[in-house]
């Protein structure tokens, strides 16, 4: 970190006081539903499906699902990636040539 911006103790004390005031405001009390205007804000707490964070469980059972024998490059991503694309094209996916 060569960039060293000077921050005075007074600035920090003021910020801390403001932070304490924010924390005691009701907005911080309970998680709120996401709002588009708040997208970049700390106030949003996204949880997702908590169980999805568990990762893999183990099992002492076999599986009767059948293996995928195909080669990966023959598949084209067909999930939500297309729905997130914009006219500008970001996030788009062109069909993959084999």
């Amino acid at each position: 970190m060569t960039v060293r911006n000077h921050i005075t103790t007074a600035t920090i004390a003021g910020s801390l006081a403001a932070a304490i005031a924010m924390l005691s405001a009701p907005a911080w009390g309970a998680p709120k539903p996401p709002q588009p205007t708040m997208d970049k804000c700390y106030g949003i707490s996204l949880k997702g499906q908590n169980d999805c964070a568990a990762g893999a469980g183990t099992t002492c059972a076999g599986t009767s699902k059948v293996d995928y024998q195909g080669d990966a490059w023959k598949y084209v991503a067909k999930g939500t990636c297309d729905a997130m694309r914009t006219p500008k094209g970001m996030g788009s996916l062109m069909p993959i040539k084999s």
Partner: protein
């Protein structure tokens, strides 16, 4: 020298987190829950919070799936230490593992793989069980497997192999009745004969689970130990015969894939409970 704790002679089910709310909402007609040890090897979080809560009201069976007792290489000492820490944390009434291997070299294959039954593998398995029991300071149960192939070099029948391991190490046995049925179908042998020879006096727990039916290269039935359905009727019949001989034994319903809702799973456990109760009335009469 070993901790002499045992599971109570009633029914239990394999715990799945999706059932947690239903389970704690009421007192369940069960005496124990079983969990796969490897799923509780994180430092904290919901798995431990849930398991701690279950342990307040029910006995616990810790069932390992990753120790690889059938490996010809050495046991994973780090994994054994994790198991010991888990046993110290929860003091389970039972610890069990499989007559199988799942790791080789550095790789963990995440399946219960078969081994030949020979004097060489018998010595190896018995040595590993001695090591586990010493490390954990308790007796363990060893479970009979489901397998899909056999080894040309096998010389010892599976039941004799299990009896001998138990005799040499003092370990108990976990009798998976579905595995007995799967094994007999897959290898053209007789499940009743297997059970007649099985050292039932060594059994500390019974497993019941569902299997899938496929066919092998020759079109013969090949049953997969998939734990994704109800217990099959012929498996219930075998279970009744076992219980008639043993009296009540701790019995677990295993349902690991396509997990059903809680009432469905509990109903399976209650079916086993009814069989246990008939057996205890019969022995009291």
């Amino acid at each position: 020298m070993f901790l002499a704790s045992e599971l109570p002679a009633g029914t239990g089910v394999g715990f799945k987190p999706e059932h947690f709310r239903d389970i704690v909402a009421a007192r369940q007609p069960l005496v124990f829950f079983e969990v796969h040890a490897e799923n509780y090897m994180g430092a904290g979080g919901p798995p431990h919070a849930q398991l701690g809560k279950l342990c307040e009201d029910y006995a616990l069976s810790l069932h390992g799936v990753g120790l690889s007792i059938g490996s010809m290489g050495p046991l994973d000492r780090e994994h054994l230490a994790r198991l010991r820490a888990l046993c110290e944390r929860y003091r389970p009434e039972s610890f069990s593992e499989h007559l199988a291997w799942s790791s080789h070299g550095e790789v963990y294959y995440n399946d219960l793989l078969p081994l030949p039954y020979t004097e060489e593998t018998l010595a190896r398995v018995a040595g590993h069980i001695d090591e586990v029991q010493t490390e954990l300071g308790r007796r363990m149960l060893l479970e009979n497997p489901s397998t899909y192939v056999r080894f040309a070099e096998s010389t010892i029948p599976e039941v004799e192999f299990l009896r001998e391991v138990s005799g040499r190490t003092g370990c108990g046995l976990l009798l998976d009745v579905n595995n007995v049925f799967v094994q007999a179908k897959n290898h053209g042998t007789d499940a009743l004969g297997y059970l007649e020879n099985f050292p039932l006096d060594r059994v500390g727990e019974i497993h019941l689970g569902g299997h899938d039916e496929q066919t092998d290269d020759a079109g013969a039935p090949l049953l997969i130990d998939a734990h994704g359905t109800r217990v099959a009727d012929p498996v219930w019949a075998l279970y009744q015969q076992v219980i008639r001989r043993t009296g009540p034994v701790a019995t677990l319903i295993e349902w690991d894939n396509d997990v059903p809702d809680w009432p469905t799973l509990r109903a399976e456990a209650e079916a086993a409970q009814a069989i246990l109760e008939r057996a205890s009335r019969a022995s009291a009469a």
